[in-house]
Structures are given as structure tokens and as C-alpha cells.
Assembly symmetry: C2
Homo-oligomer: 199 residues x 2
DNA sequence: ATGACCATGTAAGCAGTTACATGATTAC
DNA sequence: GTAATCATGTAACTGCTTACATGGTCAT
């Protein structure tokens, strides 16, 4: 159900077409929810059917006609209500942990290779999250600028701080995973008989 | 695709029926992958069709007939291969972060309520993961005992250490989320006009 | 004219959720 | 007898993935 609310959330900053929305959700981006374009378009249709967003055909900067969606009052109410309601914890699924649970059963060098690939991924993610955090803190992202434009100046600092802190949280989790993987690299190497020197 | 490998992983310790396997995957358990029973049963059927596990009708301790699955050589090979292969990072989806991104737009007391519920969940999870970590480190879980029984004694310490470390990693991530949520609680309260003293 | 990007979708299939159906055993 | 646990499934549905289809604009 969260894709719907994530879409409402982006639209609460400004009206947007499906393609632009999809950029926020493209896999391997520095965003907290990912989804392919096909899913965005059908979710938008269903949100429109439910009256949570309104569609209007407008021309983009090229005279090209696109479908622009904006949050309806009902959509804003639904978003606010959802954000204000504690959600039950979502089921836990950590594919990498499943893999790691069996590192004892394979060649330690293979385990090290898997761990190093994981470390690369996590370090890349960390960099993206830190950079997004900094961009929000300095209010330099286009979406945040548009959002702040409709809020009193006195609230700007608080809003930017809270939003930046969400990505600080993502970064903190990435740091925990990185620290863990570094320890794991030492552990998988620990029990290995030393290779015969070949060079 | 990971449920299949998670099932192969559990079966690599010992043969088991679907109901027992499902206990490892029940939501809100201290396990790294969750799935409902219905999904376990159909996944087992498909694994059997693919020749990765073998089924045999055996009688349980009550003379009651159950279907016991065991890992086939092909299943063991598939598991080892999957564990040894770096997987592409799975798409990121953090529903709570979507919620947190909009804490600036709602009543700070509602945001605090949501954060406290999250903190409760994470602290409960942390306790479960720490206890599972300790149980593995002291080799007191039934499954680990059976697993160690088929491995040379000299490897026992390394195996237990590596498995315990996976849950240490889960605990580290929970700690990061808890630390983040505690900071967030301070931040949401920060910009609030002080309530009139009422007691 | 070729490739990159803008823009909107459909279709098929797999993964995951929720509810239902059935029946035996064990503990109180 | 009644509730909890053991045990195996089916059915309907929603969410997510992957591939395909179409056509316009912009820069080289």
C-alpha cells in the first residue's frame, strides 16, 4: 500500500506527470521507495479512480501534451492520516542475511567475494544518501524548494532539518551494514588455512 | 527467488516437514526471511518439481503421517552456488521512511506517537535478535546442534561464530534505527511551541 | 539518421497476502 | 468438551517484475 502514499507524498510538493514521478522511484536511486514506471502509471490511474488525485491534460515546455496529476483535498487528508498513524512492522526479508547464514558452508574466498560486492553496494548507497541528506539540509533540491515556497519562512529550517534527518537515518543504517560486513570479512578469513606462498 | 533458497538453507541442516519449516518463516519471528504457511507449501511443491528437494511420507512421533522434505544433491549444489554468487542489490523499499519524510506536515504529537510505536517495535526486534545471536554463539539452538553433528568438531566454533554474527548484524541495524528514532523524537519536539503547563 | 530522452501505457507472469477448508492429536 | 497445536493444502487477490509497444522531441 505504500507506493500509493509515496506518490501522494511527492505530489504534495507540486503537481507532476507520471514520467517525472517515476524518476523518484527508479531502482538504484537515492530514494526510499523504488518502483518501475509501469507500476507508477497504474497506481496513478487507481489513485485517480479513488479521487485522491486529479488529472489534467497540460502542455509541457515543448508544446507536448502530458497528463499532470495534482493532490486532491481527499488525497491530502489521506496522506496526513496515514503519516499520523503508527503502521504495523512490515515483514522482515533480508536476502543477503540468508546468504550470509551459509558462508560457513562455502569456500571462504567465495564468501569474501560476495562480501566485497556487498560492501561496494553499501558504500555507493551511503554516498548517495549522504549527498541527498546534505542537499536537503542546504535546501538545494528542486522539490524541497517548491515545497518550502508554500510554507512560512519561519518553518523552513525545521522542515529541511526533519527531511534531511530521514536520509541521515538511511546513511546510519548503511554504516551499520558496512561495519558489519567489514567484521564479516575478517571472520570468514579467520578460520582458513594459510595458502601456500605462490609468488 | 530468496524464499526458495531460504528453504533449501533450513533443509541443509536436517529433513523437515512443511509445518516445521513454516515456524522459521512466521511473521514477527526472529528469522531473516518471513513468509506465510500457504507460500511455504507451494514453494516446497515447486522445489520438489525442480528436483531440488525430495519428499517422503513418514510418520511423526505420534504415528501421524507427514510429508518430510530433504535436500537433494542438486538442491545442495544450487544452494552452494547461490550463496557463493554476489547478488544485485535488491530494490529499496522503506515504508517507515516514507512516513517520516512527512513528519514536518503533521501535528508533532502525532509524529511522536508514530515514532514511539516504531521505537517499541525496533526494541522488541533488537531483543529477539540479540537473544538469537547468543543462542547461536552458545550452540544451544536445536537446528544448529543438528547441523554441527554432521561437521568435524574442529569447525564448530567457526560455524557458530559466523552464524551468530549474522544476527549480530541484524542487531546492529536495529540499534542504528533506534538511535535514529531517538534523535527524531527530539527533532519533532524541537520546533513546537511549549504547551501551557497544566499540572 | 542515430541515439538519448520525454511520455504513456499494455500484458504476462511471479511473489506475497489473506481468508478459507479440513481433519487429527494433545492438554485441560 | 473445548481450545491449542500439528499438519496440509486451495482460492482469490494485490503488489511487483519484465518485456514489449508506440510515438514525439532534441542534439549531433
Amino acid at each position: 500500500m505504500s507506493l500509493r502514499h509515496a506518490l501522494l507524498g511527492v505530489l504534495s510538493a507540486r503537481p507532476m506527470n507520471g514520467y517525472s514521478l517515476a524518476r523518484f522511484f527508479l531502482a538504484s536511486q537515492n530514494w526510499v521507495w523504488s518502483a518501475p514506471r509501469s507500476q507508477i502509471y497504474s497506481a496513478l490511474k487507481s489513485l485517480e479512480d479513488d479521487g485522491l488525485i486529479d488529472a489534467s491534460r497540460e502542455e509541457g515546455r515543448n508544446g507536448l501534451v502530458t497528463k499532470v496529476y495534482s493532490l486532491s483535498p481527499a488525497g491530502q487528508a489521506e496522506l496526513d492520516h496515514w503519516v499520523s498513524t503508527p503502521q504495523p512492522p512490515s515483514p522482515h526479508r533480508d536476502a543477503f542475511a540468508v546468504q550470509a547464514l551459509h558462508f560457513d558452508a562455502i569456500d571462504p574466498e567465495d564468501a569474501a567475494t560476495v562480501l566485497r560486492a556487498y560492501l561496494d553496494d553499501q558504500r555507493r548507497q551511503l554516498a548517495e544518501w549522504e549527498s541527498h541528506r546534505d542537499a536537503l539540509a542546504s535546501r538545494s533540491t528542486p522539490l524541497l524548494k517548491e515545497r518550502l515556497a508554500s510554507r512560512p519562512a519561519g518553518e523552513h529550517e525545521r522542515i529541511a532539518t526533519l527531511k534531511a534527518h530521514v536520509f541521515e537515518g538511511q546513511a546510519m543504517q548503511a554504516l551499520a551494514r558496512i561495519a558489519w560486513a567489514e567484521q564479516a570479512l575478517e571472520l570468514v578469513a579467520a578460520g582458513v588455512s594459510v595458502a601456500t606462498p605462490t609468488g
